[in-house]
């Protein structure tokens, strides 16, 4: 794996390898000293052109817990404000010889472009309405811990599917792990032709009872140039997940941030079925595993000495 740009580039075996690795990092998080020296001397750049709390903080903490050096840039307050282009920003940051660039950008395909401009491993932390692969992986990790396996599990993704990169990545990821996915929302918020991805579509919550997992999405008011719902009240009346609609045996997930009272009721967020804070905890260890997977398997950025034969010290415990 050279970059993590989208979930569809990963096979089921590769996904499982990352989740297993994350399990070991969960153990690191239970120690007194929650830090390992694995990526000592590498530089990780985190570049956020869109607001983020969870994704940026967990990627940054993940890099620190792996002992990497971190440069963290938000579009507000950086030279991006002065009109510097994405390409020039990457060229500038490449001067620090980063091992990885974690990027969130409002336009689909931004991470892919950056991968072409830089030597670093690129992690897509969300590009427009396209993909958010690390979110999908942390959701798989959270569910695998609860359910063991996702084979045959029925998952409903409810809400603003149209504007959601999480919906796209998670739909692919859940199906890759054997789950049966239904997307649900008003027709204006379901992309036309989404059945082609292999999911079912519902425009009402009537059959929500068949789901074992309910994955609610945030109504993305910032991406809505026109009116997609008559009013927030009417949307909430028809599509809000509340404790009346959610059965005690069903698990509730949400990628955050939650609009309380819109897609989820306050009680549902705080209910025992809610995995929302577990998702945040998973985010840290899964992002450690992603950085490890991308960087630990890759040559250090040192000058090449000779071709083919490594001249370094004997690898640890080689025939041991």
């Amino acid at each position: 794996m050279r970059h993590l740009l989208g979930i569809d580039q990963l096979s089921r075996a590769e996904i499982e390898a990352i989740l297993d690795r994350a399990e070991s990092f969960a153990e690191v998080g239970r120690r007194d000293i929650k830090k390992v020296p694995t990526l000592r001397g590498r530089t990780v750049v985190s570049l956020f052109f869109e607001a983020s709390t969870r994704t940026s903080s967990s990627f940054e903490l993940a890099a620190k817990r792996l002992s990497a050096d971190l440069v963290s840039i938000k579009s507000g307050g950086s030279a991006v404000d002065k009109g510097e282009s994405l390409k020039d920003t990457i060229a500038t940051l490449s001067a620090y010889d980063p091992a990885a660039i974690v990027i969130r950008h409002p336009y689909a395909g931004a991470a892919q472009l950056v991968a072409g401009w830089s030597e670093a491993a690129v992690v897509n932390a969300g590009d427009g309405k396209h993909e958010h692969p690390s979110q999908a992986l942390l959701d798989l990790f959270t569910l695998r811990r609860r359910l063991g396996s996702l084979d045959g599990v029925r998952i409903w993704i409810v809400g603003d599917v149209l504007h959601s990169r999480v919906a796209r990545s998670n739909l692919v990821a859940f199906q890759a792990m054997g789950a049966e996915v239904t997307v649900c929302g008003p027709p204006t918020l379901i992309p036309r032709g989404i059945e082609a991805l292999g999911c079912k579509v519902s425009h009402s919550l009537d059959r929500l009872g068949e789901a074992e997992v309910v994955y609610a999405l945030r109504l993305q008011k910032e991406r809505m140039a026109e009116t997609f719902v008559p009013s927030l009240r009417e949307y909430a009346a028809r599509f809000q997940i509340d404790t009346r609609r959610l059965a005690p045996r069903q698990l509730l997930m949400h990628p955050g941030p939650v609009n309380r009272g819109v897609e989820l009721s306050g009680e549902a967020v705080d209910s025992p079925q809610s995995l929302i804070s577990e998702q945040v905890a998973s985010g840290l260890v899964v992002r450690m595993a992603i950085l490890y997977e991308l960087l630990a398997a890759r040559e250090r950025p040192t000058p090449v000495e000779g071709e083919g034969v490594r001249t370094g010290p004997t690898p640890l415990g080689q025939p041991a």
Binding site: M1, D20, R21, E23, S24, A26, E27, V28, R31, D32, I33, K35, V36, P37, T38, L39, L66, Y292, L295, A296, A297, R298, E299, R300, V309, R310, G312, P313, T314, P315, L316, G317, Q318, P319, A320
Partner: protein
């Protein structure tokens, strides 16, 4: 590839029993001991030593295991396929004021042990650390020496020492095999 058995099933079990005796002799207060094995086969051998020491001293010692993947000094120097499988570490007891017996199957360059000591200190500050290995094959690259050795095996650098244990490999034995071309390069 020719393979020569240097320790058979009974030899291996006798050797472990001897190491356990030496540990008990050198540490008169068994209550302050703890055993920590290095994944994968070091952890198996640690469990066997733990059982033997339990019989001898009639006390239940704390036991743990360490995965040292995150502490290696060659991270990034390997192709993905040969990246080791990660097993989580388990050290669920307080290390302070204890003598920790670190256990591995083969002592070679010393790099694994260096990494394991680093990992161990992230769990606490043991009073003393001692090293027990089933085989010492020489070729050290670091100033590390074992406190308990099952068998000294003079080897050529390119040879391979294979420790097999019933829990993992269905057989108890230690063998030396000739290098094959690919391994000699690695």
């Amino acid at each position: 590839m020719s393979e020569k058995v240097v320790l058979g099933r009974d030899d291996l079990r006798r050797t472990l029993r001897r190491i356990a005796h030496e540990i008990a002799e050198k540490n008169p207060a068994p209550d302050s001991l703890a055993i920590v094995g290095i994944h994968t086969r070091g952890a198996v051998i640690a469990r066997r030593l733990h059982a033997l020491l339990g019989e001898m001293t009639a006390s239940e010692l704390p036991i743990g295991d360490l995965d040292i993947s995150f502490y290696r000094d060659d991270v990034g120097a390997k192709v993905p396929a040969s990246q080791p499988v990660v097993h989580a570490s388990h050290v669920d007891f307080d290390l302070s004021d204890r003598t920790v017996i670190l256990v591995d199957d083969v002592l070679f360059t010393g790099r694994t042990v260096r990494a394991a000591i680093d990992a161990l200190f992230d769990y606490g500050r043991p009073q003393r650390v001692q090293l027990a290995v089933l085989c010492d094959r020489g070729h050290r690259e670091l100033p590390i020496r074992p406190d308990y050795v099952g068998k000294n095996l003079p080897t050529a650098r390119g040879e391979r020492v294979n420790v097999r244990v019933e829990e993992v490999d269905d057989v108890d034995e230690v063998t030396i095999s000739e290098p094959c071309a690919a391994e000699a390069l690695a």
